[in-house]
Symmetry: C2
Subunit: 199 residues, 2 copies
């Protein structure tokens, strides 16, 4: 499993935004939509071995499960509509986790909840410009990455993440969705090379 | 200079589409919008040393010049609006190249025109799943990449591209914008490593 925990520091907590303005009215939800596309979308298919946790303002958690995911298209607007549906479902059922569309679950939740879900089974890394170059590491199969939207990690998040290794993807400061694309490619190439060696 | 020539096989040739449906009414213009974002957008800035040629149905060419580019935001819809403005400007001035907004130029043009603009100064590669792994090549500074949207290269395009080397980015079939992100990362890392070696 490959997991991405993405922190959306200003992302909308309620569905009352317009899909015509994801960056503004939805608090840069466009970034999270692109992260979802990068995490799941192949040229003609969905990566089923992926899980994404979107943490909205450290209050809500939207979990996208590749194995069950349906109706996901690569464009931002249709992904925004799926996330909007999740927020609406949460508004109607705020007390428990609910599956708003196949493979998309929403509940109350913050970064510690996301970490608690992954840290027993997966090795957790933090994507950070000041980390160790990702190419120097032999990444495990079961792996989770924490990354932030356009905002830096906040002090309380830094404190929660301080014990995990930091990985850098290169010398330039990149958008979160571009980071996910590069991580996937790094893992794809490494796993393919390993398989080739084993044959 | 890094150049990307992206073939949009079904992309709209006129501005009469709605920004609410870039995948449908605009002929998968969403893909070209994401390619523009991947080509130019850093976390907090624009890559100025980049040129993008969008070839629409082998009839129109939209050229985006990093050094002059303004008003580009990372979300799909606002990029779609810039491309729509370009198509409108072309409709009003169909005979010559026109700069519709700073750094965005439109004119009649097909793949051979795009290639003619780059092939004297830049080494041209074709991004293709069956190519040589990109990691095996020492890429030059002045480099251009040709890639396709969600459609395969057509036979006439294959014929035009047959003399250029093909490069593959990994074992999975990826979206065009994800390919651009990976190419940039490959070049960023190689150039950084070279600079470090030279110090």
């Amino acid at each position: 499993m490959r997991t991405f925990i993405v922190l959306g520091h200003r992302a909308a907590l309620t569905p009352d935004f317009t899909l015509n303005d994801l960056p503004g009215s939805a608090g840069r939800l466009d970034i999270l939509c692109r992260c979802v596309t990068s995490a799941f979308c192949l040229s003609h298919g969905i990566r089923r071995d992926v899980m994404v946790y979107l943490i909205l303002q450290n209050q809500l958690m939207i979990r996208l499960e590749g194995a069950r995911l349906k109706h996901l298209n690569p464009d931002e607007r249709s992904t925004g509509a799926l996330l909007q549906k999740a927020l609406l479902a949460h508004q109607e059922h705020p007390e428990s986790e609910i599956e708003s569309t196949p493979g998309i679950f929403i509940s109350k939740g913050a970064l510690p909840d996301g970490l608690a879900r992954v840290k027993e089974k997966e090795t957790v890394y933090v994507l950070h410009e000041e980390g160790r170059p990702i190419g120097e590491i032999a990444l495990p199969q079961e792996v989770a990455f924490v990354l932030s939207d356009h905002c830096n990690f906040q002090p309380d998040e830094e404190a929660l993440l301080k014990d995990y290794s930091r990985l850098s993807l290169g010398p330039r400061s990149l958008h979160a969705d571009h980071c996910i694309t590069i991580v996937h490619n790094q893992l794809d190439r490494a796993q393919f090379a390993n398989r080739t060696l084993l044959v």
